[in-house]
């Protein structure tokens, strides 16, 4: 993992490699800590994103927050989503909590458009939409598609969110009128 060796991490925070091992168990411990911190940051920034004039604008703002964060922290971001910790380690509860928190934030933003829906339906919709935004982000951050780059990522998320929301309200009106 280039750029994420113990020596490099130590240099980047201007400590020696040995000091890392006084504080952390091993490198995976360091990386897990970084992952948790980053995900907490993201969850907080999403939660603090101001509610827009309309649900659609709110969702758009959330997507922008998410994409911007990933682009601003490309290296760490790739770390979080590409480095799978050893499966022997117990899955981090903190990590999962923040994932749920992100889902809750999105779910809250979706709620005004899904008045008749159950909490489960809202959660599903929120997680699906977030996973979609995440997919666009991941491709943009890792330069995997020539057309989906840093500059177009927000256009893509906008198209996704707006079309998805249109689909939600279409179903909603059908459900309500039925």
């Amino acid at each position: 993992m280039p750029g994420l060796s113990a020596r490099e991490i130590a240099r980047s925070i201007e400590y020696s490699p040995g000091t890392l091992y006084n504080i952390f168990e091993n490198l995976d411990d360091v990386l897990l800590t970084l992952q948790v911190e980053m995900l907490r940051d993201v969850a907080c920034q999403l939660a603090e994103t101001p509610i827009g004039a309309t649900p659609a604008l709110h969702i758009d703002a959330l997507a922008k927050t998410y994409v911007d964060y990933a682009l601003r922290n490309r290296k760490l971001w790739n770390l979080l989503f590409s480095h799978s910790l050893p499966t022997t380690a117990a899955p981090s509860k903190a990590l999962h909590d923040y994932v749920f928190a992100i889902g809750d934030t999105v779910s809250g933003a979706l709620a005004p458009l899904m008045i008749g829906a159950s909490a489960a339906e809202k959660n599903l919709a929120a997680r699906v939409l977030w996973a979609g935004v995440h997919g666009i982000t991941a491709i943009a951050v890792t330069d995997k598609a020539p057309f989906l780059t840093v500059t177009t990522a927000l256009d893509y998320t906008h198209t996704l969110t707006q079309t998805f929301l249109d689909g939600l309200v279409a179903n909603q009106t059908i459900a309500v009128s039925a």
Copy 2:
């Protein structure tokens, strides 16, 4: 990169490390070749997915093909999307061609629902939707969210595709009726 060293690759195909270097320039060459082969496979399988009774069913089948492929080839899949080749290397044209081919396949499946739309609009919609499906796949394959697992991935892609399509046709009818 555990599990993807030259020695391990050699062992897994029951050759010696040296043989790899008779055939390939270096390890990155091996990995790039794997990536291209895998993406070609995916593109072919998508292209060969039978057209369903309705566009919605067709898209669903495409998503299933995509997700199934990723789950059947977890390790390689993670390789393709997590290992970024050195930026010094010229980006592989073949790789990009296959990415475009996938977009074209999805775009073709979307076409019946977007009669009045331009080719650019159809391409955008196709790429956005595919990136979304990819996001769900990526999270499922890497076990990053407790609720989005191998068993629920298809439910998630189904919700995404159907809601997205609903959004498309909602816009379509508006555009047409206007």
